[in-house]
Amino acid sequence: MLEVDGGIVFWILSFVILVSGFMVVSLKNVFHCALALVLCLFTVAGLYILLDAEFLAAAQVLIYVGSVAILLIFEVMLTSKLADKRITQSNDQALVGFFICTLFAVAAYLLIKFNTIWYPLAKSALPSDNILTIGKYLMTEFMLPFEVVSILLVAALIGAIALARTEKS
């Protein structure tokens, strides 16, 4: 159980991820939740480095920590009544939800551990030059998704600007 790639670093990272993740769903002040989310996403980037995905870690820091978190914090400040601490932030199904989610986590762990036959490689054979290989894949094999992503981004941009426009009337 205790033998894992990355050793102590993995345990520290996963501890931070789980604690900050639980803070995201349980704190009363939504602004603090957003800050906990930043910590969680940053630590997940550390986990990606542990798993030999350096470019993905950089993308995670740039996109999630750099922009999505900023956007979320702006949104919290735009709807400023949220900073009011007297409002309860969870509904009355919290206990049932906690029970169901604990059940889900335990079931998933048991399935992963005992009910699935994995075929892990003896030694990982990942390409040593991470970003070069990703570039080759993106430009050749994943060419169509790569171009479709730009259309998706334009659609999201136009939709968001059209929805969030300031009404002059």
Partner: protein, 99 residues
């Protein structure tokens, strides 16, 4: 490999808990981001330990990150619109579709 998958499963459950119990919409979106990250951890773990060669899992994870960001943009714009029309973004405010 098993600890990584277990971590992803627990993180996914935490996100699920947030989606089910949060009352305000931004909290729900944040919990969704947690679930996306759990899925990404799974992809990258499989890419390292199960796939024979190549980085297809990481490419998938990059596309998930990008699409999650686009989803956050549109979702937050909708939240803004909800705030403007209902003067609050708790999920029990906007029940016009319920009868």
């Amino acid at each position: 490999m098993i600890p990584y998958l277990a971590l992803a499963a627990i993180l996914f459950s935490i996100g699920l808990f947030g989606v089910m119990t949060r009352r305000n919409t931004i909290g729900i979106l944040m919990s969704l981001e947690l679930m996306f990250n759990a899925v990404n951890i799974n992809f990258v773990t499989f890419n390292k330990y199960v796939v024979s060669d190549g980085l297809v899992g990481q490419i998938f994870a990059i596309f998930i990150v990008v699409i999650a960001a686009a989803e956050a943009v549109v979702g937050l714009a909708i939240v803004l619109l909800i705030y403007r029309n209902w003067k609050g973004i708790d999920t029990d405010h906007f029940t016009v579709m319920k009868w």
